[in-house]
């Protein structure tokens, strides 16, 4: 899924972070593939769980997950990802998969159990 060199992928993730901070929807659309798929792990929460989101459904949900949090770009699983913190606590981690030079997969981890090691 990766054709872009790692350095350029990191640059794209930084651009996504900046666009999320500005809540800049057109920029986000230009960084994501039109066929983007987002998977959200809520930790099995029955109420919050969703289908995989596709296309236009992705940006609003991404902005919602990151809303009001401080966003940093960090090395997660060996590549750049967005780590969202509310106060001291990590509330969400967003990882990305690439196809060509655009983002084709967005993986949003909200599960408190999966963020536990980030908060201990």
């Amino acid at each position: 899924m990766t054709t872009l060199p790692p350095g350029e992928r990191d640059a794209v993730v930084h651009q996504v972070r900046d666009a999320c901070e500005r809540r800049d929807v057109p920029s986000l659309h230009s960084l994501l593939s039109p066929e983007v798929v987002a998977l959200i792990d809520t930790g099995g929460d029955l109420i919050a769980s969703t289908w995989p989101l596709t296309g236009d459904e992705v940006v609003p949900r991404l902005l919602d997950a990151l809303d009001g949090a401080g966003l940093s770009v960090q090395q997660v699983n060996g590549v750049c990802a967005i780590v969202a913190r509310r106060g001291e606590r990590v509330s969400c981690i967003v990882s990305f998969g690439f196809e060509g030079n655009r983002i084709a997969r967005v993986w949003i981890t909200l599960s408190p159990l999966k963020l536990r090691r980030w908060n201990s």
């Binding site: 959200i40 809520t42 099995g44 929460d45 769980s49 289908w51 699983n77 060996g78 997969r105």
Partner: protein, 286 residues
Amino acid sequence: MSDGVEQFLEVRPRLFGIAYRMLGSATEAEDILQEVWLRWQGYDRDTVESPAAFLATATTRLAINAATSARARHETYIGPWLPEPVDTSADPALGAERGEALEFAVLLLLEKLSPVERAAYVLREAFDYPYSTIAEIVQLKEPAVRQLVSRARKHLVAERRAPVASKQQRELLAAFLEAAQAGDFETLEKLFAEDVVSYSDGGGLALAARIPVIGRTRVAKFVAAFASHFWTGVSLRWTEANGQPSVVLSRDGVDFTVVTATASDAGIDQLLWMMNPEKLGSVSAR
């Protein structure tokens, strides 16, 4: 005999890297390391020629077992399951020769391989183990291991091309629910594949049939038969369980069943009715 602490600590990052890649869970990887440590403590260590090889073998074998039970757990997970993200700023390769098999994309694909296949792939691609060593660890002959690794590579390439979210599957499940609620036998028959199977996990509840119902006509009859009382006052919520389209059924605000459907070109080929209160309660466990 030394207390074995140094030998363990020396390879600890590598052991964690093996278990984490195989399970996609840092929490479970820690549990495995704990178990390996206990076994190492209780072992006659003077008889061990290579502590590193011994510890890697124990870790891999325990991870293979854990992966088998994790698979069953992920099948009842509500919503998409993702690996537990790990901070790799200090150790970019996570104890490996290479940072292979660490990105979400690959970990999610590894989930679809058998545990032994996963072990062979991880040991080879991330840790550069010789095939002969991997063969000893997973207790197979060397040619078999070569085949496993090559098959795993092919799987991963093929999977990357496969679409993830199929709108068609969602539409099929939606059409199924409509027909099921209406008790519409004819439409149900049209939606099912010839060899459709309906499984129920009722956890011993009387309502759920323990024996799978097999075949287009029988499953259609079975579903149509309980249309009247089963759906009364039920509200539906769309979700996904283990990558498959699913619907959560609740009555009076209480979730009581998760229905999951898998489909092929021939139609819906499997229905799973998860009514087990214990499993419904534990979906948020991991």
